[in-house]
């Protein structure tokens, strides 16, 4: 099993957020999680990425034959887990190019691969950026600093395509995007998708799933997955809302 979440219960500040959650993802699969606000979708993403604010009450997560809880945030990232943030944070004064370069090399180091040099990296970054329709000038700016909402999301996708993760988690990447930006973002995901990697797409609306075809759709309500199936579920939600799952 590529990713196996078993009986996961998580709380934050005395509030139970995830309750006995189960989810299995195989290599090459695209999973979508849909749910109303406050159902615990973003918590799941952050627990997977290793954010330290949460208390794990019960359950286990297996990722690529590792007990995920044995790995810290950066080790999970280096093992190929990528989280596209809902609200990417600004880091003033830190230029995108060396930032991503360091990120790529820390992953290569863990995989015992040779580090990529400045010049080759700059070339790689430029070509990926133009693939995604990202202006080269954006590469001269500081990480997320002064970016519009759409630019931030596009930049998340650029990072994803450079880091080429085994498991990419997209946390409400569609929120705040107009149709053009949504197309760029979803194109990026579709280009990156292979038989070897997997996606977990967290979304509130069905719109995103018009552009990315998931193999499975899960409905998450009140900290648990209450229904799983194919893309027909997304259509159901679009029509009737989350009411009937609650």
């Amino acid at each position: 099993m590529f990713l196996e979440i078993k009986d996961l219960s998580v709380k934050i500040e005395n509030k139970n957020i995830l309750k006995s959650l189960n989810l299995n993802i195989n290599k090459g699969e695209v999973h979508a999680i849909m749910g109303p606000n406050g159902s615990g979708k973003s918590t799941l993403a952050n627990v997977l990425a290793g954010k330290e604010d949460y208390e794990i009450l019960n359950g286990r997560i297996n990722f690529k034959d590792n007990d995920l809880f044995d790995l810290n945030i950066e080790e999970r990232a280096q093992e190929g887990m990528f989280l596209a943030f809902q609200y990417p944070v600004e880091i003033p004064g830190v230029n995108i190019t060396p930032f991503l370069h360091s990120a790529v090399n820390s992953k290569r180091k863990r995989m015992n691969e040779e580090e990529i040099d400045n010049l080759s990296f700059a070339k790689l970054l430029k070509s990926k950026a133009s693939d995604l329709g990202i202006n080269i000038d954006m590469l001269k700016r500081s990480v997320n600093t002064g970016f519009s909402g759409g630019e931030k999301k596009r930049y998340e996708i650029l990072q994803m395509s450079i880091l080429n993760p085994d498991l990419a988690i997209l946390d409400e990447t569609d929120s705040g995007l107009d149709i053009d930006a949504l197309k760029i973002v979803t194109d990026g995901v579709n280009k990156l998708k292979t038989k070897e990697n997997s996606f977990l797409i967290i979304t509130h609306y069905q719109k995103l799933l018009d552009y990315i075809k998931p193999d499975y759709v899960h409905v998450m309500v009140n900290g648990s997955i209450v229904k799983s199936g194919g893309s027909e579920i997304a259509a159901e939600i679009e029509k009737d809302g989350f009411q009937k799952f609650q």
């Binding site: 950066e74 944070v89 930032f99 360091s102 820390s106």
Partner: protein, 483 residues
């Protein structure tokens, strides 16, 4: 941050202060303590003319009547001025060696270890260096090439011998010996330092640099630097400093005077990395430094850039007196304090001429149990019509046992003056750390990256050759403070 910096970070984590070694060398010292005999000894050793000795003795008599300035937010035991050696020179330095073959190989090795090779074939490309070891200047590189342009770059001791007119005219003209007790002390006992004169209309083609090293125990270093940029000239100057690890505190009280005549520009950069003391606050340099520049002529410009990471105590306010109309003063500062370090640093911009402009960018980073204070004074005199100042002070706290303080004074006697002031204090942002780590960077790398980003506005003012060094230094200063 590039991978090279990361590697350096790794290698430094094993030895936080890599300049902490001691050179075993026979040295020559007078008796401990400060009195007229000590001053006569120094003057004699330097083979100084009578007028210089008189100048020193006058400063000494002023010092005796003075008390240390007390405005700074610093606490330290009283300095016992009678328990310090005021001069220390490697034996055989009565006369400065003519070339490196006359220099003790141990000294050359010391500078190789510090990354400052002195052999002609290895000298830093495009940078002329004067190296000062305890109380004496060891060597000055690229001298011949500079002489062709009429540029004088030598030790202050040599300048007193060879250029007495310039010394008499300018020494103490910006920082009078009686300004405060540390300037009086320095004027009485200064030993070596650099002298620069750039003739009219000459743009100095290379960076000039002085490297200061304290080696001997219980010895104060009192350097004196004087830079004169004649009309329409330009010079960029950089100083670096290190000292061995010692359990006792050592005193360093330097005076630096800059004079920019009409249309001249002086860019002065400092990377200060004196031994900061250990994790428990034992040892380290007391760094009491007076730096002041005079924009004497119209359209002149003086720019100070400092990266302050070392010393147990830093007390330093590089200042500009903007006398010439349209003159410009700038101050860019990064001050990092860790463990028990204390820094009280900032600047003073005195607007005298019309249309004078000043800009202050200060970045303070506090870690461990350290205290970091920005102290600045901007004043506009009556005739400073349409003068402007922009001040930006940002403080970054890492951890919750350190302190950051901002003390800006503004005094305006002219109502056409325009003053802008921005200040911020922030803690290192957990969301930023999470973001960086999610991309695969370690906690330490992430902190270093964020702090370097925070300082970027200042670091980019440094000459290229030193910007990379400074960035590494910032990373090293953060070692062991996070996690």
């Amino acid at each position: 941050m590039n991978s090279e910096t990361l590697n350096t970070l790794d290698s430094y984590s094993k030895n936080k202060y890599k300049y902490g070694f001691v050179t075993e060398i026979d040295d020559e010292k007078p008796k401990k303590g400060l009195n007229e005999e000590t001053i006569k000894f120094i003057s004699l050793k330097k083979n100084e003319p009578e007028w210089m000795l008189e100048w020193r003795l006058k400063a000494y008599s002023k010092w005796k009547k003075m008390k240390e300035p007390k405005w700074a937010n610093l606490s330290f035991p009283e300095i016992d001025y009678q328990d310090i050696y005021y001069y220390s020179a490697p034996k055989g330095f009565e006369k400065k060696p003519k070339d490196l073959s006359e220099v003790d190989p141990k000294l050359i090795e010391t500078y190789n270890k510090l990354g400052i090779p002195l052999e002609e074939q290895k000298v830093l490309a495009g940078v002329a260096v004067d190296v000062v070891f305890d109380s004496v200047s060891v060597a000055t590189t690229y001298k011949g090439e500079l002489e062709k342009l009429g540029i004088i770059f030598c030790s202050i001791g040599e300048a007193i011998q060879k250029h007495p007119d310039l010394i008499k005219k300018y020494l103490g003209s910006v920082i009078p010996p009686g300004d405060h007790s540390f300037s009086a002390l320095n004027s009485a006992v200064f030993t070596d330092g650099s002298f620069v004169y750039i003739p009219e209309g000459v743009k100095c083609p290379m960076e000039l640099s002085t490297y200061f090293r304290i080696n001997a125990e219980n010895t104060g270093q009192f350097e004196r630097t004087l830079i004169i940029a004649d009309k329409g000239s330009y010079v960029s100057y950089l100083e670096g400093c290190t000292a061995p690890k010692r359990d006792d505190n050592q005193l360093h009280a330097a005076n630096v005077e800059l004079i920019a005549l009409e249309g001249a520009e002086i860019k002065y950069s400092t990377v200060q990395n004196w031994y900061p003391g250990d994790e428990d606050g034992k040892g380290g340099i007391y760094n009491f430094v007076t730096k002041r520049g005079l924009c004497a002529g119209k359209n002149s410009k003086i720019s100070w850039t400092q990266v302050e990471t070392g010393s147990a105590i830093t007390w330093k306010y590089p200042s500009c007196i903007l006398k010439g109309d349209n003159s410009i003063g700038e101050f860019y500062s990064v001050a990092i304090t860790n463990n028990f370090q204390q820094a009280d640093t900032g600047t003073k911009m005195t607007h005298i001429g019309k249309n004078t402009k000043s800009k202050i960018i200060s970045k303070g980073i506090s870690l461990g149990k350290s205290q970091n204070t920005y102290r600045g004074e901007v004043s506009f005199l009556r005739k400073a019509d349409k003068a402007r100042n922009y001040t930006q002070c940002d403080s970054l706290l890492v951890g919750n046992q350190c302190g950051a303080h901002t003390v800006p004074y503004i005094d305006s006697k002219n109502n056409t003056a325009v003053i802008e002031h921005e200040a911020s204090t922030s803690k290192i942002n957990e969301d930023q750390l999470y973001y960086c780590r999610q991309r695969g960077l370690s906690h330490e790398e992430a902190v270093s990256l964020i702090v370097n980003g925070f300082c970027k506005q200042v670091l980019q003012e440094l000459p290229m050759e030193f910007a990379v060094e400074a960035q590494k230094l910032v990373s090293i200063s953060l070692e062991g403070s996070v996690g």
